[in-house]
Amino acid sequence: MDLLLDAVVTGVLLGCFYAAVSIGLSVSFGLLDVPHVAHPAFLVLASYGVYFLNDSYDIDPLVAGLLITPLLFVFGLIAYRIYYETFERRGSDAGVRGIAFFFGVAFIIEVLLILHFGVDQRSVTASYIGKSWRFGDMRIPLRLMVAFAVATGLTLLLSVYLSRTFMGRAIRAVAQDEEAVRLMGANPVRIKQWAFGIATAVLGIAGALLIIVAPVEPTLDRAYIGRTFCVVVMAGLGSMTGTLIAAIILGVSETIVLMTFGASWAPAISFALLLGILAVRPQGLLGRRS
C-alpha cells in the first residue's frame, strides 16, 4: 500500500512536469492546428541550451531557462512565419507536407545535437538536485518537488494569460473562428504567430525542468512525442486545465506500470493511452471540438 501511495504521489509530481512540457503543444497544436511533431525536439534543444549555460557559466538551470526564453520566443515567431508562408497558404497538400516538414526539422535538430554534444547523456548541477525530502514515510526527490512547483506555476500562468489578457483572448478567438477575427479587423496571422512564439518561449522553463528531472540525450525527443501528444489529445485540444489533468493521469499511469511491470514497458504507456483515447473519445476529456 505504501508503495502504491509512493507511486501515486510520484506520478502526480511527474504528471505536473509532463503538463509543463506539453503546454506549449496545447497552444501550437491544440489551438493553432499546427502539426508540430518537432515540439519535443525544440524541448530537447532548449534543455541543451540550459545545459550549456549551466555547464559553462555555472548558471542555475531555472535561471538559464528564463534567460533563453526570449531567444525561444523569437525562434518561435520565425518558425511560424516559415510554416505559414510555406504550408498554410497553399491549400490542399499542405497537411502531408506540413507533417513531413516538422519531422524533418525534428531529425535535423536531433542530429545537430549529436554532432555538437555527442550521444552521451548530459545533466545539470544545482543545489536541489540529488537531495530528497521526507514526508512521513515517503522520500520524495527534491528536484521533483521543484519541477512540480514550477510546472504548476507555469500552467496557471499560461492559463490566466489565455483567459484574462487581451492577447490571450485574441488567441482563443482565432482558434475558434479565424474568419470572424479577420472580419473584426485584426490580423489572425499575426496573432497566431505571437501564440506560436509564446508556445515556444514556454519551452525555456520546460527544457530546464526536463534536464533537472533527468539527464537528457539527443534522441530523447522520440520518447516525448508520445507523452506530449498523448497529453494534448487526452486533454481535448486547447484546454489548459485539461492538459494538467491529462498529464497527471499519464504520470500516475506510467509510475504504476513502472512499479508493476518494470521499465521495459514504460515507453509504450503514453502511446497506448493515446491510441485508446483516439479510438474511444477523440475529443478528449474536456474537448471543445464537435
Binding site: T86, D93, R97, F103, G104, V105, L115, L274
Partner: protein, 317 residues
C-alpha cells in the same frame, strides 16, 4: 498505353536478368551488401507511397511493418526452420493483417492524428517485441544462415536477387493501382475526402485496400533482412530512421507516379551508403533531414514534379 506496357515489362525482365547475371559474374560481395540495402529501400518506398502518396495518409509506421517483417521471419525460422520463401510469404500475410488492423484503428482519423497514431503503433509493437523472450528480448537474437541454394554462390547474392524480385512485384502492384480506378479514387480522396465521398468514392474501403497492400509489401521487404544481418534486435529493427528515410525517399522522388519513390530511394539510398562509409552515419541522417525539409518546402511534388514543370514550360501539355 500498349507501348508503355511493353516497355515496362521489358525493363523489368532486363533488370532481373541483369541482377542474376551480376550474381554469377561478380565475386566481390561488397556491391551486393550495398545493393541489397538500396533495393530494400526501393520496395519500402514504393510500398509506402501506395498509402502515403496516392491517398495522402502519411504513414509513420514504416518501421513497425519493417520490424514485424524481420521478426516474423525470425519466428518462423527459429520455430519451424522455414525456408526464405515461406518467411517472406508469411511476412506478407502478417503485414496485410497488421495493415488491416492499423487501417481499422486509424484511418478514420484525419491528417496528423493518423500519423501520430502510426508512430504510437510502432513504439507499442517495438515495446511488445522487446518483452518477448523467445525472440531475444532487448538484447537481440542471432541467426545462422542455412546453406545457399544453386545457382547462387553466396547467400547475400541470393538475397539481392530476392529483393530484386520484390522490387518488380512492388512496382507492378503500384503501377496497376495507379492506372486503375483504385488509383483515381485514391487521388480524389487525397484531394478532398468529403467531396470524393459525395461523388461516390468509397473512401474508407479504398484507404483500407491501400493500407493492407502497403503493409503487406513493407513487411515482405523486411523479412529477408533477418538473414541479411544474421542478427536482429528491437531497437534496430524498429528504428524510426526507417520511417523517416522512406518518407524522405518517397516525397523527394515524388508521389504522383510509381517511379517517384524508385528515383528517391536510389538517390537517397546511394547517398546514404556513400556518406555512412566516408563520413559518418550521423551526417547521413542530417543530410536526409535537410533534403526532406528542402524538398517539402521548395519542390513539393518531388523530382518528378520538377521534370513535369520543365516539360510544361517547354510547351508540352
Amino acid at each position: 498505353m500498349k507501348r508503355e506496357g511493353i516497355a515496362f515489362w521489358g525493363t523489368a525482365v532486363l533488370f532481373l536478368v541483369a541482377v542474376l547475371a551480376a550474381t554469377q559474374l561478380i565475386a566481390n560481395e561488397y556491391p551486393f551488401f550495398a545493393g541489397y540495402v538500396i533495393l530494400q529501400f526501393i520496395v519500402l518506398s514504393v510500398a509506402w507511397s501506395i498509402l502515403g502518396g496516392y491517398a495522402g495518409y502519411v504513414n509513420f509506421g514504416t518501421s513497425a511493418f519493417f520490424g514485424v517483417g524481420v521478426y516474423t521471419a525470425i519466428l518462423l525460422f527459429k520455430a519451424a526452420g522455414a525456408p526464405l520463401v515461406v518467411q517472406i510469404a508469411a511476412a506478407a500475410v502478417v503485414g496485410a493483417l497488421l495493415g488491416f488492423a492499423v487501417g481499422l484503428l486509424t484511418l478514420r482519423m484525419q491528417g496528423i492524428f493518423f500519423s501520430i497514431a502510426t508512430i504510437a503503433l510502432t513504439i507499442v509493437i517495438e515495446t511488445s517485441v522487446t518483452n518477448w523472450r523467445f525472440l531475444g528480448g532487448a538484447a537481440g537474437i542471432q541467426i545462422q544462415r542455412p546453406p545457399v541454394t544453386a545457382p547462387f554462390h553466396s547467400y547475400v547474392q541470393m538475397l539481392v536477387f530476392v529483393q530484386a524480385l520484390l522490387v518488380v512485384i512492388a512496382v507492378t502492384i503500384a503501377r496497376y493501382i495507379q492506372n486503375s480506378w483504385i488509383g483515381r479514387g485514391l487521388q480524389a480522396l487525397r484531394d478532398d475526402e468529403l467531396a470524393a465521398e459525395c461523388t461516390g468514392v468509397p473512401t474508407l474501403r479504398l484507404k483500407m485496400v491501400a493500407c493492407v497492400i502497403s503493409g503487406a509489401l513493407m513487411c515482405a521487404a523486411g523479412a529477408p533482412a533477418a538473414m541479411y544481418l544474421q542478427y536482429a534486435d528491437p531497437a534496430s529493427a524498429f528504428n524510426l530512421n526507417y520511417s523517416v528515410s522512406v518518407l524522405a525517399m518517397a516525397l523527394i522522388g515524388g508521389t504522383a507516379h510509381w517511379i517517384g519513390p524508385v528515383i528517391g530511394a536510389i538517390l537517397l539510398g546511394v547517398t546514404q551508403q556513400l556518406l555512412a562509409v566516408t563520413i559518418s552515419s550521423e551526417v547521413n541522417v542530417l543530410v536526409l533531414g535537410v533534403m526532406l525539409v528542402l524538398f517539402v518546402v521548395a519542390a513539393p511534388e518531388g523530382i518528378i514534379g520538377l521534370f513535369r514543370k520543365r516539360r510544361r514550360a517547354e510547351g508540352k501539355t
